[in-house]
Subunit: 606 residues, 2 copies
């Protein structure tokens, strides 16, 4: 049976559920899914229409093409988002829009399967002459992902987009097979696109081609550039790298493809290598928010412990890619640390990126802002990634459609099942989960409170196991089943029993605000502490209307616990109480200074 | 009488001396001047020959031109260095080499005065189509500076280079005058080149053209770019900027030109504006080393207090430019803070940039390195600015010839005179200073010790004033004249008397090592202290042969003063004494980790 979801591996510890089998009810994420369906997807589409990125597919000759060399990929991400949203809601208008875009895209394909509006046409540059920067296989990778979404969400057999995608993939296998070009693309994503298409079609040549791309990297396969080959993960072979490095989105997309290849080829060694790279990256190269990429230069990971809050690049797309990667590792291993990072990244990167009205987005997500940013022009795309406040669109606008496809498919990341019929609850969202014969109803206002009530509405006769993640940020959680209450401390709290309809499980998570201290090796935040509450990182924000200097001399007292009042958290400082707001709300009140890491009046020593 | 020096303003508080009137004897700077004359200049020339940058002037058609678009400027800086070195030493071979290069350069000039090997020739791009990035006026500015050096160091009346430079400047005045192109160059330096040529020739059209370029900036005059217009100081008019911002070398070259324009046009308001910008920049946007530019992205100044030691760009060229700017402000005002910054920058940026053998150079000068850098290929130019260790050459190799011209002209920065016949000693270097009728002999091994003995060998009859700078880093200094000893605390220590030959002045500077604490607003070094000794910043260095992890967990005790032994300084840490070496020696022992700011076991609170 087809699982309707992004990333459907053929093996692994956990099995994903279909989007339709998990419904996210009203709440923190339900409202964002609704905003995505009602606003964000249309917003993306109308900007891409206005700027000609969709129209580029109509211009057969390539003359008059508009936008940067990778805009095709943004159209494909939009189509992918529309596919998932259509499957989630069954909206008819989306089906028609997808079919229309699919026909348009199909019309731009060359007879041999090549498809790119920027290269290979009369009057434009020839194909594959600039693998470092041309983004042709990057665009193809996103095309494949859109095609997979189309196939999994019920494309008719003669669907033009599905057929186009298969032809495009076949072309890539010929052009970059053993008898063809032995290069790789400067921007990975083709790897995971090919493996997913293999999963969706069963055609092994796609898997083999993905494996080739993974193994070619770092021999090296690309020219040196001023950023260095680490920028596109071509400095050393995938198997030799100790951690993720270079351009963060490139590194994370590649790692996701490496996991996909490792899983489908049964290459356990490769899987362990990526898991080790992930572990070191999360331990030493990741922000408290889950943000990845600490350098503006090259939009890249820094060295271990190089985590400046003020210059955090922490691109929104890197957050999306990190969720996709962690999800693959979670499915492969069943280890809760991956779901922990997904939770952290969703609440503090993805949620932060989107304006409350769904019409503006952060590209970078710094943890400190010293000078109130300028207000982006609402009528023009921002020429800069660091637009200051959320901007409606960017000259390089990879992030908004990336968020759109993640939000549309978010229910895929909530729960899984195992071959023994067990069900695993990874994220705490209200709603309904169906996993085979099991039906769960989850009630919670998490992360506002920490109580999550899981009711079994249906299930098989006899005992089966229900696993609930114990977040890494908590000291543990309290579980109550019937009269019995106990503490669970790490990993997954398991309850195996013969559940009967109406049985309940109550989870109590300790979401009271808490101080978090950095590693002494992170020089940039020495002598500081941050405040978290549940999965939410907090920050101090100083709207420009008031003094903008106060945060630069802020000094807080951590001898008392932070207190919790009406959605804000308060800590003591020399000049009285300081209000902290959830980091994902920063910038909503206009230009402001902001900081997550708060200097301590008396620093605790390591 | 012609003053043979870079920057010879027509008015101001202080008057510069000719290179030939100040001889720097053996010692810290004497050895570096000698290295420059014997190695660095030849090293630069041979790389420029090998890479075709000099040969580009032979290729009349432009076909086969090699190197980046701005390499002409590096050849001009080399010529400038050779001119100053020739004047300093009287070396005959340099005179011939200058004449030969001058003839070569002259041969590449178009009939209308335009001179650039990258643009305006058959088969190449047209002139002035890309003011943002083309660097045509930037190259012209360095050409003018080379021509000024040639004129001031005794070019014959029919010298081809001098004539070429005048034609080039005339061309710029026509092409960019009121009736011509109203643009400016993306990379300033033409401004100061024009004013200096005005000073050297008396032709006011050059001054007027420089004034035009200064006033056009920021209206805006250039297109927007992803870095933003602040990158090339085109975001706001020069008179409206609160501090230096954007690309540091661009900002500092421009500011030097603005000072030149302000001085020669008598625009006191403009001079005060630049002085205020300088003050804010030095107070809030400058590293302890004097390094400027805290961002790799855009090689630019950061916001106030954004001074990460690990990602300090602190380009060597920005150090050279900062010396040139501070010197102009010092000549204009006579205020010691400018000489203070020159001393700091010379000892910690310029001295750091050059390898002991004079054959390798830092491009960036970070204050912390967490991962031992790779060893650059000694046979090829580095494709990257952050080469790790000092590299022999760079694809963008602006820094080595910039250091060469500064070292060759270094004696210009030591002392000045005033219209009343006073003499001011700004830098403490052993040697001889002649200022009109006054001849001083300075004996010192500064900065090894703090004793500086100044002997008056000649001077006018009657009283005249001798001023000695009291460095800002010191709590004061002790002056001894004959039997009399007293303390001077700030600015310049003045001794006015009827000096007789053989009279002496003894200066004792407190060069014992001292702790330096950062402003609490500089987040990146909170809870740290640095050690300085005299003008020298110290650092901890961990050669790769030993553990590379120790510096990441270093924690020092500042309850005792640092101690001084055999050229190193020692401080206490939990695991015993830690040796600190002068920052300018870091990287001399091969790949190593390094840090200037040392985490404190018990942080002092602001």
């Amino acid at each position: 049976m087809t699982v309707v979801a992004p990333a459907v591996p053929g093996r692994g510890a956990l099995r994903p559920l279909s989007l339709g089998d998990v419904r996210i009810g009203p709440g923190f994420w339900g409202s964002r899914q609704q905003l995505n369906g009602e606003v964000i997807i249309d917003h993306c589409r109308s900007w891409m229409e206005r700027l000609g990125w969709i129209g580029n597919f109509r211009v057969a000759s390539g003359a008059g093409r508009r936008g940067r060399e990778f805009t095709d990929a943004d159209v494909y991400k939009l189509v992918e988002a529309m596919c998932w949203e259509s499957a989630r809601t069954g909206r008819d208008d989306l089906g028609a829009a997808i079919a229309s875009l699919g026909t348009l895209i199909a019309g731009a394909q060359e007879p041999d399967g090549y498809l790119n509006t920027r290269f290979g046409h009369q009057g434009l540059d020839a194909r594959y002459r600039d693998l470092e920067w041309g983004h042709e296989l990057y665009c193809a990778g996103h095309l494949l992902q859109a095609g997979v979404a189309r196939l999994r969400t019920g494309a008719p057999p003669d669907d033009p987009l599905a057929a186009t995608v298969v032809r495009a993939a076949d072309h890539v296998c010929v052009a970059f097979g053993d008898g063809g070009n032995h290069g790789v693309d400067g921007h990975p994503v083709i790897e995971t696109g090919l493996v997913e298409l293999y999963r969706a079609t069963g055609s092994e040549r796609y898997l083999e081609q993905a494996r080739r791309f993974v193994e070619r990297r770092g021999r090296p396969a690309l020219a040196d550039i001023p950023f260095g080959r680490a920028y596109f993960q071509d400095d050393v072979p995938v198997r030799s790298a100790p951690a993720f490095r270079g351009h963060a989105v490139r590194a994370l997309y590649l790692a996701a493809g490496v996991v996909d290849v490792a899983i489908e080829t049964g290459d356990r060694e490769l899987l362990e290598i990526v898991a080790d790279q992930w572990q070191r990256t999360v331990a030493h190269r990741t922000y408290l928010t889950g943000g990845m990429g600490s350098r503006h230069e090259g939009e890249s990971f820094g060295d271990d412990h190089e985590l400046p809050p003020d210059r955090a690049y922490a691109e929104t797309c890197a957050g999306v890619a990190s969720v996709q990667l962690a999800w693959r590792l979670l499915l492969a291993t069943g280890e809760s640390r991956y779901a922990d990072l997904i939770e952290r990244t969703l609440h503090n990167v993805v949620a932060t990126a989107v304006a409350p009205d769904g019409r503006a987005f952060f590209y970078t997500n710094p943890l400190q802002v010293r000078v109130p940013p300028s207000v982006p022009d609402p009528t023009e795309p921002s020429p800069r990634a660091a637009a200051g406040l959320r901007a409606p669109w960017y000259d390089v606008s990879c992030c908004p459609p990336n968020v759109a496809r993640l939000l549309a498919s978010l229910s895929a990341y909530v729960a899984t099942t195992t071959s023994d019929g067990g069900v695993q609850l990874h994220q705490f969202m209200p709603g309904r989960v169906q996993a085979g014969p099991v039906v769960l109803e989850v009630s919670t206002d998490y992360p506002v409170s920490g109580r999550v009530v899981v009711r079994v509405d249906a299930g098989p006769a006899g005992p089966w196991r229900l696993d609930v993640r114990v977040p890494g940020w908590s000291d543990g959680l309290r579980l109550t089943v019937g009269e019995e209450t106990w503490e669970a401390t790490r990993g997954y709290a398991s309850v195996e029993r013969a559940w009967r309809p109406g049985d309940g499980l109550v989870v109590d998570l300790p979401v009271r605000p808490r101080w978090t201290y950095p590693s002494p090796q992170v020089d940039a935040v020495r002598g500081c502490a941050a405040v978290e509450r549940g999965p939410i990182v907090y920050c101090a924000e100083s709207p420009a209307a008031e003094s903008t200097e106060d945060l630069s001399l802020l000094s807080v007292d951590d001898s008392a616990e932070p207190t919790d009042r009406a959605g804000s958290v308060y800590v003591d400082s020399r000049s009285g109480g300081v209000e902290l707001i959830p980091y994902h709300r920063w910038g909503n009140r206009g230009p402001a200074t902001m900081r997550v890491w708060l200097p301590l009046a008396t620093a605790r020593r390591p």
